[in-house]
Subunit: 698 residues, 2 copies
Amino acid sequence: AAPRARAPKKPASAPAPGAEPALDGRVRAVVDAVLPSIDAGRFAAKALVGVPFEVTAHVFADGHDVVRAMLCWWNDNGGDTDGAATEAPLQAVEMTALGNDVWHAALVPAAPGRLRYRVLAWVDHFRSWRTELQRRVDADDIRLAALAGAALADQAAVRALAGPSPADADAGALRAWAEALHRRAAPAGGADIDIDAVKALALDGRIAAAADRHPDRHLQARSEPLPLVVDRARAGFSAWYELFPRSAGDTPGRHGTFRDVIARLPYIAAMGFDVLYLPPIHPIGRAKRKGRNNALAAEADDVGSPWAIGASEGGHTEILPALGTADDLRALVAAAREHGLELALDIAFQCAPDHPWVAQHPAWFRRRPDGSVQYAENPPKKYQDIYPFDFETDDWRALWAALKGVFDHWIGQGVAIFRVDNPHTKAFPFWAWCIDAIKREHAGVLFLAEAFTRPKVMHRLAKLGFSQSYTYFTWRRSKQELTEYFTELYATPGRDYFRPNVWPNTPDILNDQLHAAPRPVFMTRLLLAATLSPNYGIYGPAFELMERTPRNPGSEEYLDSEKYQLRHWSLDAPDTLAGFIAQVNQARHAHAALQGGAELRFFPTDNDALLAYGRRSADGASAVIGVVNLDPRLTQSGWVDVDAAWLGLGDAPTFEVDDLLSGRTFTWRGGGNFVILDPADMPAHLLHARAGAPGMRP
Amino acid sequence: AAPRARAPKKPASAPAPGAEPALDGRVRAVVDAVLPSIDAGRFAAKALVGVPFEVTAHVFADGHDVVRAMLCWWNDNGGDTDGAATEAPLQAVEMTALGNDVWHAALVPAAPGRLRYRVLAWVDHFRSWRTELQRRVDADDIRLAALAGAALADQAAVRALAGPSPADADAGALRAWAEALHRRAAPAGGADIDIDAVKALALDGRIAAAADRHPDRHLQARSEPLPLVVDRARAGFSAWYELFPRSAGDTPGRHGTFRDVIARLPYIAAMGFDVLYLPPIHPIGRAKRKGRNNALAAEADDVGSPWAIGASEGGHTEILPALGTADDLRALVAAAREHGLELALDIAFQCAPDHPWVAQHPAWFRRRPDGSVQYAENPPKKYQDIYPFDFETDDWRALWAALKGVFDHWIGQGVAIFRVDNPHTKAFPFWAWCIDAIKREHAGVLFLAEAFTRPKVMHRLAKLGFSQSYTYFTWRRSKQELTEYFTELYATPGRDYFRPNVWPNTPDILNDQLHAAPRPVFMTRLLLAATLSPNYGIYGPAFELMERTPRNPGSEEYLDSEKYQLRHWSLDAPDTLAGFIAQVNQARHAHAALQGGAELRFFPTDNDALLAYGRRSADGASAVIGVVNLDPRLTQSGWVDVDAAWLGLGDAPTFEVDDLLSGRTFTWRGGGNFVILDPADMPAHLLHARAGAPGMRP
């Protein structure tokens, strides 16, 4: 089907203009402030398979009657009709009142896909009747109330028998009780009434439960359905390893291949990574090709930048011949899977001047007044080797279809994760349409937005559907910066749709704190990334081999960057961080507190060089404490207070913790833990409160 | 027309289900987070005639192009079609960027009524072109850019001449400039180019301004229209005086009348009040009538509670004969207006057992199993003299029409302000429909919600349309309580729809801080109400005469309450607060900082008995400082810091302030003002920074 821009998504039950229904004015219950809600349902919230999706709402009614509420969800069939209005929900769970008219429930998604959720609420006459009865003291009032209750029970019995699966037992119990209550409250022949017995019978808890199962919901209030995207677990918990396949060969100077990457897989898997991410694998433009260290002119043997996409061999759906064939790629996908790794490809929507599309689709590019194609520029800087697409072209439908086709092609090759290069320089409506269309066909496909730009723009991309997003982590170093930034990342409403993926380095970012930095800097940056965020990644082997020389002082570019040349890496360097990384990734896999849906809280320390924080799993059963010495040169010590209750450690005065880095065991308490960390030894604690430790929640 | 429940209000431009339009995918600008927005446009924000209505939005586009944005609004015709989509706006103003992609504009409503507002934004090619040109250094680039700019100007000239009022001058200037630019950048015969002259001409500021006036908006993004209710100024600035007309007579024991109230008007007007509010004026039920001090049985001469509405003489549209006739009421309305006072009536939707509707409309009331009408109760308490309406009745349309008819009747008598009794015990959909229907017919009618209930319920009523709301002020006494509560009341999103009306006392609430309280307590409670909130009221003459005896110790009921009996008040009591109240109301009328739309900020003091705060008008031109000694018995002193910049007092080291209570003048500064307040003298300062005082904004 030809692409169409996605209209602002309205809850599908919105009444058509001119067709405002005469709602039933007797609906007294109110549902308000259903959360999560991303821009009132304009965008989908995000959830993970197997992780409870928590919903709160304001629910109340006029007066003093008792209300009840349900959280329900439905499959989103993608159509314009509102299944949520008429069909039976996929799941439904009764909500509980938290106080102050705030109600709560959680549902656990079972499979990836799109859902709609809404809250239903009603004034419950049986519950209201029972609540009033409990407070009644006047005999005549109790007698009349008993008769009213009997009538309510008879009505509940009728409802119990209606519908597709009649509840005969409930109906029978309700009817028998109604009869007994009537007999006692209005005995034949005007016999004496035992009012205490009437009240006791009327308050029978089993009958109340039976009535609860068959409520009168015909005057039910319903919130507008809100959209939810459920992703597979990897969207919420992943460790990425970025690698240039052309540098993966075992012989210096030889162009690496996908087969070389296959040989490298055991090394990567041993470090515990989940995602293997490759920069663009397509033919590289020859026109205006850049040389080593971004030189304007390339030498004859220069390999060029993988992001200068397209040459005579083809464009975004072709493979650079030097890397191998489509068969080789599929072999890599399969071999990676055997090593517990999933392949991610880089999608960069831009063309080298010799990309076939430049000649085939002149309308997709802007022209300068001299007729030449407009290259990318940010005056006075010029990027003559890159042609951006013109998203204002009249031929936008064909352009959109072609770009989506790029994803479709690689999905066909077994790839299900895409890292998207600079999505913020492409029109936003395209992403909304493209990601939604792909995920409706392949619910498991994930997209990582590489947009290092302004906050509102990054958030917009996440709202439009990107599964994960790069962050500012690389530039957040101090205790205060880290505390503020991660507190923000875990706060609503952002956390309902923006999943951070944090990187200590990338091929584009050798932050100056890594320039000629000592080993503890690399260790702490890795540990912070891996334990503050459930999604993180490194660009290797540059990272584990502590590549740390910038092209120029103060530059964030690597000297002799792989972006422009082949490199050969000595993986067996004695000071490699591979072992440390393996230890950290092992801790991540072993403890739910470091996985998807886990929460974060910072803890006070009396030393600004010591950053302390807690993580706990969504179900509260797993807890980990991190304490990091941010000073890479000096031993630092201080006192750390932790929130033991928040960590689920109960109120025992002390608890045992295992250090997942040193293997040592300590006795900790809520307030006043002395910590001393020598960076030359190990710059951090990563403490796990053992299951079964005193005070630990079972 | 028969009432219908109001459907959840969708922005009228919502595409109909099944009719999702193929939007233009080339729209690159984004408008997000338009504020104020009450539940994403489900409810209307509130504004005041003459007070700037401030709107912010997130506006941006992909890439680096320059965006522009407009705030526009339209009359809301009440139909289901979206005038805002196609018609020319009533007003439009260009927004300005505040940084971080947040944009701002304000519009000043000219008349009461319903509006819709939305933000429009577009990628501005002329501005983008000019911004890039400013940074260009390469001669060839400048030459090509000049040619591109000339083409853009020619297009702008075409737009200048299109539409209903062609801008000939702009079109001429743009064309002439385009021609000159072309001539200089591409001279005939290949003559030499003066590139600096080309750039200087290209950057002509007057041409940029002309191009700005005729932007290319064909790929414009539009936010969904949001509803706004504009009220007359009184909705945002009012001092209420509540009085029982039956106690307004000059002779003890004689039932007061509307004519007696007319005689009382000069007294009330002299105190500076704006609204005179009367408890229900209808026939009072005789069945189950309550006696003095809420006695279960009334004596023969007991007058009953005005809230027990309806008797053989009639119900909600009749006047208690003892008060006078409809002519007398209209005379009172007119006489009040001559004294600068507006009459407000109390609407209490409940019936005495002998209300005519009980017999005429049995379906509007619930029955008990013995066939009797269900009276109000909150077990074990019973209110046999009050029959609530059953809002779940099948006859709800007739009930709704009759209740709206009550308002319509009194509007017909010249009343335009209603204080609604316990609206939270009536179905919410009724209020949404009723208030909207009335305000569409009479935009100036105002409703005050008397709902002393849970926060979410009170906020719901305000969202549904109530113009003002009672608050918890009566129970907020300490510096911390007052600071927290008023900070909350002035915070978004509440302040966009919830207008507090604060009362130191009501006939139902003699808070225990007033029990046997000394005069300074009454003074400070009055002053706090009148200067912390633009809307406030008192129940008099009980308040100014310092009536302070509860029915029982700890009760909030007055002894010998006017709710159940006639009272005679000695208005000339020597210690009356009438003079003080007049002084405070005079200050309110004289200074915009105490009026509608004004802001509030609390200031630090080093003494918890001293509460200090600033008010400033919406336009920043008027500022007032309050300092209140909350200790009614002891002299208190301390240091007060004020935020002089926020108050608009500039950065002069000192400024002169006039005390509007004592008439004295002081020299103040930002930090470190010594204050000493003897409650026996005057328990507060109310300081006005004189216009023309050093540092005062002109």
